[in-house]
């Protein structure tokens, strides 16, 4: 039934379709000034994270016993810590750690959650029940507590933090994708595709998945902020990165003893975490204002 011309047309249409929504999106997004600034910040941060170790003014691990706990100055932009290490350099390397941990955890959770959500929503029946019940069990632990429990189980360390954060993200993604899948399933064009004999995978990928994309994007962005807070929180509690690592949370924890006297040790890493999470949240808000249909129709 599909003649060559129809296939060609749909391919042309697909190219055209891909072109204008993206442009439309960019036009609206540009208007969100806060989100735009935040995106630039994150862009710069990512660049710093990648080339950071090479441009850092000092070796983040090298102590300098002549310059202990010095406040911010021209030579040490963020001061030095209790071992004389340059805080600014440590912050730069810490950016890499934070971004890497949160991105991995969230994207792994996204992939796993999406697969589970699609399967659950599309096939329904007992598969759906099993997956949703498991998510309910995971949901019955508050996020951070679940992460703490997992790390308590597996032992401290950055990798286990990634696993823990990933695990507590999966149920939310699964539920989101499942909901969107159920909605999309109702759509008539899915029925149409199925009646033309499209295989399950094809229907899932080509028809249902695109519907869920905008919600996912917003959620992922906000989730990265949550992940950074969780990861640094775990490290602060001594359950994550080890103290020599220049991870922002751990830096805060070791700096705690010097709060009254050299508070910059505590203030600097905190600012780093705060600004980064703030930036992701602002981007998420901006995306939501642009992509959310309820707001669009006003």
């Amino acid at each position: 039934m599909t003649s060559p011309t129809t296939v060609q047309n749909s391919q042309v249409q697909k190219k055209q379709r891909k072109y204008s929504p993206l442009k439309e999106f960019w036009k609206s997004f540009k208007k969100q000034k806060a989100a735009l600034l935040a995106s630039i910040f994150i862009g710069l941060l990512i660049v710093v994270a990648i080339i950071g170790p090479y441009i850092a003014p000092y070796d983040p691990f090298e102590p300098d016993y002549d310059a202990l706990l010095e406040g911010p100055s021209a030579s040490h932009l963020a001061g030095t810590d209790e071992y004389g290490r340059d805080i600014f350099s440590r912050l730069i390397v810490g950016a890499k750690i934070s971004l890497m941990v949160s991105f991995s955890a969230v994207f792994l959770g996204l992939i796993l959650g999406t697969i589970l959500g699609l399967i659950s929503g599309y096939f329904g029946g007992w598969i759906d029940k099993v997956i949703m019940r498991s998510c309910d069990v995971l949901f019955s632990f508050p996020d951070l507590l679940l992460a703490i429990a997992i790390v308590a189980l597996l032992g401290p360390g950055i990798n286990n933090v990634i696993i823990a954060v990933m695990i507590f993200s999966v149920p939310s993604f699964a539920r989101l994708v499942r909901g969107a899948t159920l909605n999309a399933k109702e759509n008539v064009y899915v029925e149409a595709a199925q009646s033309m004999g499209a295989s399950h995978v094809r229907v899932l990928w080509k028809h249902i998945f695109p519907e869920t994309i905008s919600e996912l994007i917003i959620f992922v962005t906000m989730r990265i902020g949550t992940a950074i807070l969780a990861a640094s929180g775990l490290s602060f509690l001594g359950l994550g990165a080890s103290p020599e690592m220049p991870e922002w949370g751990v830096m805060l924890s070791s700096g705690r003893d010097y709060l009254g006297t050299s508070s910059h040790v505590v203030i600097m890493p905190g600012i780093a975490i705060f600004l980064t999470v703030l930036a992701f949240n602002l981007i998420g808000d901006g995306l939501r204002d642009v992509l959310d249909p309820k707001i669009k129709n006003n």
Binding site: P142, D143, L145, I148, L237, R256, L259, V266, I273, N281
Partner: protein, 307 residues
Amino acid sequence: MWKYTARRIVEMIPILIVISILTFLFIHLIPGDPARLVAGKDATIEDVENVRHELGLDKPILKQYVDYMKNLMTGELGTSLTTGLPVIDMFKTRFMPSLHLTFLSMLWATLIGLMIGVFSAINKNKWPDYFGMVTAVSGISIPGFWLGLLLIQLFSVQLGLFPTGGLDGFSSYILPSLTLGAGIMSMIARFTRSSMLETLQADFIRTGRAKGLKEHSVIVTHALRNSLISVVTVAGLQFGFLLGGSVVVETVFSFPGMGRLLIDSIAFRDYPVIQSALLLFAFEFILVNLIVDVLYTVLNPKIQLDS
């Protein structure tokens, strides 16, 4: 309402069972031999076997679980490996402070969050809105442990207004509850704002104005009453955030509550305490969710009559 409550409780039971199994298995899921981990690296084989027998780890696993559940029912939560005290006694002293802290935080966060949210919604895109929303988005972005430390630095160390930690009367609750509530207040403010904005678009709001009602009547009696239902449920769900956040806050302020107990026991590998604490937290969370669900059906007249 009672039928619904009963139904939800019944639905809860399988989840509770699964959770009890998971917390029971906790000690077994740890990589390595639990008896050895508890006995320590320098323990002899004999020591390890003694520990194994003491903890009942030498019995078949099903029997262990049955014993575990039997003990739970009678409130026998085991003995702490570090203090040697019954776990349940340790909980008794720690539970109330945490509860008070959680309650206080929730109270101020909900009230202030609501106010900010409503005020922002009715002044959309004007200065009060920007101010409110900037505060709110900062509140959800700020790490709790950092905020706590900053507050200590400012109010305890420099101004000397509040104690830096511990539990010493009501003033010990102030800074921790400010820290704990910040994130919640922000989330409630954001949610209230969007809920109010949506409600204010509704037709019945126009009807209210057409009736000649004063604007504050329209906002409070009509719009807020509607939004309140969803805001209350969202607020209730923040409770989970509180439980997790309390671990961090209690650590920062050296507050003698359940959260800090959990962290300390993880550091010392006090498995009986860890297990029971996790179980307690999960149970609290599920209970609050149940209450919130039932509360929602009570508040929402549409659902009231359907069930």
